[in-house]
């Protein structure tokens, strides 16, 4: 394809918190400087910066890319900022990837940040803007409505039970107990999930990830730099992204086609023909418990409607045949919108290098995948990493 090889050579992140003292800029700097320190690089080594962060309404700050830029190491450097909802966390490393793969830049810093705690009375109020301004907002919807409608359609299409779906919350919140940055890690049972407050049936409180402040950063480098900087570069071997329409009520939400299209694009590039066999560890996007399952199916890692059984059988535990969300995911670590997906890419980076500490999956995984989702049930973003 004429593109250069690109590797992730360093990563860093802040704690994910309900409310941080730090401003968004300070959170960005904390994550970005940690990423640089982790591979002993300085700002002088960085050729360009990619910033992933949600628009004004969450942090309440206009022109957020410009506002955050100094904390993202972008002083007097070329900067690009993108936003595709929650898909941003995996989309920004893709943007970073094509900066380097194109040959235009050798080293790029990718930073994802969100500070949702500033939004009152509740960030839900900012999420309202996702609904159609002419035909839907008048119904006074809550963001959770869309997820509940999708979850119910998914359950009905495949005859799934809330019990099986609740296992995802149990697994991820327990995995997160081993993540030093986790906001909502805890040891719970399926009954705890089913008995938690009903928000919008069939969604209960413990089926949902929290609102968070946090930042994540990583350093991407061209091959000749990567090999000089580390003896464990993690190669970005496949990228994919896809956007469906905003007409979500005209689509069948029981299956995320846009995730499949993004996955196929990444698999083709990475030479993956049998994803279930060739991928060793996966971080699909899990803002809600059922989403992990929905996305595993969209990623073609199992058949439609089959993901709950994988969870029941223990296949997706850290010591299972296909570990899923060993980090603890959004359900356990937290959900600062544009940073959450980047946390997953960082997790795959650490897992492949054997640096995930207590979260390390056994068996020396070689190929990992991170996926994010966003907007009105629309966006699929995928990266395939290999060591």
């Amino acid at each position: 394809m004429g593109l250069r090889r690109v590797a992730v050579v360093g990563a860093g992140m802040t704690k994910f918190m309900r409310r941080a003292l730090e401003t968004g800029r300070e959170l960005s700097w904390q994550a970005a400087s940690m990423a640089l320190d982790s591979c002993e690089m300085t700002l002088d080594d960085i050729d360009g910066v990619v910033i992933g962060t949600a628009p004004d309404a969450f942090d309440g700050v206009h022109m957020k890319g410009e506002y955050l830029s100094d904390g993202c190491g972008a002083w007097q450097k070329p900067v690009m900022r993108g936003y595709v909802g929650g898909g941003t966390g995996v989309f920004s490393p893709i943007q970073g990837w094509y900066h380097v793969a194109s040959g235009l830049f050798d080293v790029v810093l990718v930073v994802g940040e969100e500070k949702m705690s500033s939004c009152h009375p509740h960030p839900q109020g900012a999420f309202l803007t996702i609904f159609d301004n002419l035909l839907e907002r008048q119904l006074e919807p809550n963001l959770i409505w869309i997820f509940a409608l999708e979850m119910h359609r998914y359950m009905t299409a495949y005859g799934l039970s809330k019990r099986d779906i609740a296992l995802v919350s149990v697994k991820n919140k327990r995995n997160a107990l081993d993540h030093p940055c986790a906001q909502v890690a805890e040891d719970i049972t399926v009954d705890d999930v089913l008995n938690s407050e009903v928000m919008v049936w069939p969604v209960n409180r413990l089926d949902v990830s929290p609102v968070s402040d946090g930042a994540v950063a990583m350093v991407l480098a061209a091959e000749h730099v990567a090999k000089r900087v580390t003896d464990k570069p993690v190669w970005i071997d496949g990228v994919g992204w896809h956007l469906d329409t905003a007409y979500w009520t005209n689509r069948d939400v029981s299956y995320p086609k846009y995730v499949e299209y993004a996955a196929r694009m990444a698999y083709r590039m990475a030479g993956i023909t049998e994803p279930r066999k060739q991928i060793n560890v996966v971080e699909p996007y899990d803002p809600f418990s059922y989403k992990e399952l929905h996305h595993l199916e969209g990623l073609l890692l199992c058949g439609k409607g089959e993901a709950p059984q994988l969870t029941v059988d223990g296949v997706t535990q850290r010591n299972g045949d296909l570990p899923v969300c060993p980090s603890g995911g959004l359900l356990g670590v937290g959900n600062p919108i544009a940073a959450a997906g980047l946390m997953k890419v960082a997790e795959i980076f650490w897992q492949l290098r054997g640096e995930a500490g207590k979260r390390q999956v056994p068996g020396k995984p070689i190929t990992g995948l991170a996926q994010a989702w966003g907007d009105l049930m629309q966006v699929g973003t995928v990266v395939v990493l290999r060591i």
């Binding site: 409310r19 941080a20 003292l21 730090e22 401003t23 800029r25 300070e26 700097w29 970005a32 400087s33 640089l36 300085t42 700002l43 309404a57 309440g60 100094d70 904390g71 190491g73 002083w75 705690s117 500033s118 939004c119 009152h120 009375p121 109020g125 900012a126 309202l128 803007t129 301004n133 002419l134 907002r137 008048q138």
Partner: protein
Amino acid sequence: MGSPEQISQVEDIRYVYGEIPVNYAYTLGVAGERFFREIMEKGRFMGTRCPQCEYTYLPPRLYCERCFAGLDDQWVEVGSRGTVEAFTVAHLDLDGQPLAEPQLLALVRLEGADGLLVHRLGQIEAEDVDIGLLVRAVFRPRRQRKGSILDIRYFRPVAS
């Protein structure tokens, strides 16, 4: 090819009214928390200085944007006096309505700082302001201060 439809009935043109019903409560950050507490409790300005880049940030920052060094142990006091680097007179408010009284605004470089502060000028007429004017901060009384930029009422000229 153009649009196939023309609006022929005026009553078919519609607006839909709505709002984004959120407001904000911002933390000031690690650096901002210290900056405003010093103003509130001690009536003084603190900046952070990067020794490597020889740059004093005011308002202070937790990190140097130039070299990315952490500056949380590099606090320095800067003077309450400074010079006017630029000024303007505002006649309209945020909604474009005329202000009851025009506002005199300035960019002030405080003694010892490299960064500039935006604030109001007081006790002076617009036609008497010049670039380079020496000014001093006028703080509100201690009990009226809340840890806000408005704890400074304005900057007034210093007799040279």
